[in-house]
């Protein structure tokens, strides 16, 4: 059944494929590579997390420090995903539904954070808000805490996840064009009515998709957050930062227990993404 069938009637197919030996070698290389470099690291996370048994695993997760890191991570993700969602949809509307000069430049600027090293994404905020930074003295004088506090972590996370929503929605909204919106307007709908009744229902899967990816990145961000957090235990450690600290203290089970939560988040994200991509493909059918 799983044996590849080669019969004379598939002569045409033979023109389009390689000899069986080569096929098997290529598949073997691809599968081995993905297993070693991608699957095994994922498996190791769970193996290490449960290496001292289930009790140790849950003990590690219910540690107050772990709980506070989970809380902080959820909070930062909620803030940054929320803001980027609102502004991403607004940016996508402006860019996809109107023609103006400099559109390509604007899209490249929105894309910038993708090409900036996470460490630099954190550094720019240290240079702005740090003690030696541009706004540092004023912040200190007014007792405003941005760096080494939640606002700094949120800012760095917003920076890193900035492009996700707009980038996912712009091509989708461009593809859908402006005809349905024009129809709504000509039927007497206001701008907001048009957006909420016509545009939003058409992009809802795209919105969900972008929120999903944005959230995964927001919860998992390490480099940028590491630079601005100050690593104050129980206060400014997010889950990825706590993984580092525990790991460096040789608390491997605890480190991998937290890591396993993040890995699970990644897996759930991937599964949901695959399902959503199917919905998006359906929504894209031209039979409108």
């Amino acid at each position: 059944m799983s044996q590849p069938k080669i019969s004379p009637s598939t002569a045409r197919e033979d023109l389009r494929t390689e000899p069986q030996v080569i096929r098997i070698v290529i598949i073997a290389i691809a599968v081995t590579f993905l297993t070693v470099f991608v699957v095994l690291p994922l498996v190791v996370v769970f193996a290490q997390a449960f290496s001292k048994g289930i009790g140790a695993y849950f003990a590690a997760l219910s540690d107050p420090e772990a709980l506070s890191a989970i809380r902080l991570t959820l909070m930062v993700a909620a803030i940054s995903v929320g803001l980027n969602l609102v502004f991403g949809v607004i940016a996508a509307w402006a860019i996809a539904k109107f023609d103006f000069r400099g559109k390509t430049l604007l899209i490249s600027l929105i894309d910038l954070p993708f090409s900036v090293s996470p460490v630099i994404s954190g550094l720019v905020f240290v240079l702005l808000f740090g003690a030696q930074g541009f706004l540092g003295p004023w912040l200190q004088a007014n007792d405003v805490h941005i760096l080494f506090a939640v606002p700094g972590i949120a800012l760095a996370t917003i920076f890193v996840t900035f492009p996700f929503v707009a980038r996912a929605l712009i091509p989708l909204m461009q593809e859908q064009g402006t005809q349905e919106e024009e129809a709504a307007i000509s039927l007497g709908a206001s701008g907001l009515q048009t957006f909420f009744r016509v545009t939003l229902p058409n992009i809802k899967w795209g919105v969900l998709y972008s929120v999903l990816l944005c959230n995964a990145r927001a919860m998992g961000e390490f480099g940028a957050v590491s630079v601005v957090s100050g690593h104050i235990r129980g206060e400014t450690n997010t889950m990825p930062l706590l993984v580092e600290i525990l790991y460096n203290e040789y608390q491997f089970v605890a480190a991998f227990a937290i890591a396993s939560l993040l890995a699970m988040l990644a897996l759930i994200t991937l599964v949901a993404k695959t399902i959503l991509e199917r919905h998006l493909d359906e929504g894209r059918l031209p039979g409108d």
């Binding site: 390689e18 470099f37 991608v38 502004f87 090409s115 550094l123 630079v227 990825p240």
Partner: protein, 279 residues
């Protein structure tokens, strides 16, 4: 004055408001902070800038980051092509799962990838142990950095090349075959050349990502100055020593390099579009 007369432009409402909000948000979050970095670097004299960059430790860190990222991107280029070929052209058990798995390096938080790769390649790890018997040490050496960079780069090549190979018109292969080309000729002269722009784009994206990578590398790297210390880590170290000037100078160099890479990618994509317009 013109209210209600000729000359109004947009049918759909909200352009002014949404564009204004977009530019404001973009400036506050991205442009002003990045401009601050460049502004800070102008506080350095050219001599200072130069001596920071040419100090042995900085130079080595940059060499390690760029050199190993380049090597890893080459590996990704080759392996990416093989993986895409297997996923697109062949049917084998678990193909769809492996297709989904390619995205794991995108989705897995870098710190998690870092500790996982370290555990895997450490001397007592599942892969580290057999490698150690062969006398190969990966974790806490430059080889570890290399491995981590391969891990995070692979989806870039696969995901840029895959759609192009899928869209490739099967008729051109039949055409080549009907003109007497054997399979190897068809692949090397017809298919691979059409994939070149996508392969180069994927390579550049994987390279750019690996150069700036931090989380997945620092655990496995060993972080020995001049040997296995990457540039982003050196930025973090300089920051913790309050040597902001040093951190800024290194960051500016890396930022400019990644801008150039993105520019190259954009040019590549435009080239690909003019050479092979979408049908």
């Amino acid at each position: 004055m013109n209210n209600g007369g000729a000359g109004r432009r947009n049918t759909l409402p909200g352009f002014g408001l949404t564009m204004g909000l977009t530019l404001t948000w973009l400036s506050v979050i991205i442009l002003i902070p990045l401009a601050g970095l460049f502004l800070k670097s102008f506080e350095l004299s050219l001599d200072q800038f130069w001596s920071i960059l040419t100090s042995r430790r900085t130079l080595n860190a940059l060499k390690i980051s760029f050199g190993l990222a380049f090597a890893a991107a080459i590996v990704n280029l080759v392996m990416g092509l093989i993986i895409v070929w297997a996923l697109v052209r062949y049917r084998f058990p678990g193909r769809r799962i492996f297709d989904a798995i390619v995205d794991i390096p995108f989705a897995l938080p870098t710190a998690v990838a870092g500790v996982a790769l370290t555990a895997l390649f450490a001397e007592k790890g599942w892969l580290g142990a057999p490698l150690a018997e062969l006398g190969i040490k990966v974790a806490f050496t430059p080889a570890g950095i290399f491995v981590a960079m391969i891990f995070i780069g692979i989806p870039f090549v696969v995901r840029t090349v895959q759609p192009v190979l899928i869209d490739l018109d099967a008729e051109i292969e039949d055409a080549a075959a009907s003109l007497g080309a054997n399979r190897w000729n068809t692949v090397s002269r017809v298919i691979l050349p059409s994939l070149v722009p996508a392969l180069l784009t994927g390579f550049a994206l994987a390279f750019a990502r690996a150069v700036g990578e931090y989380g997945s590398v620092i655990f496995i790297a060993g972080n020995l100055p001049n040997v296995s210390e990457i540039a982003p880590l050196l930025i973090v170290i300089r920051l913790s020593e309050f040597r902001y000037a040093d951190a800024t100078a290194i960051a500016v160099v890396m930022l400019v390099a990644s801008f150039l890479l993105i520019f190259a990618v954009n040019r590549l994509q435009r080239w690909a579009q003019t050479r092979m317009p979408a049908h």
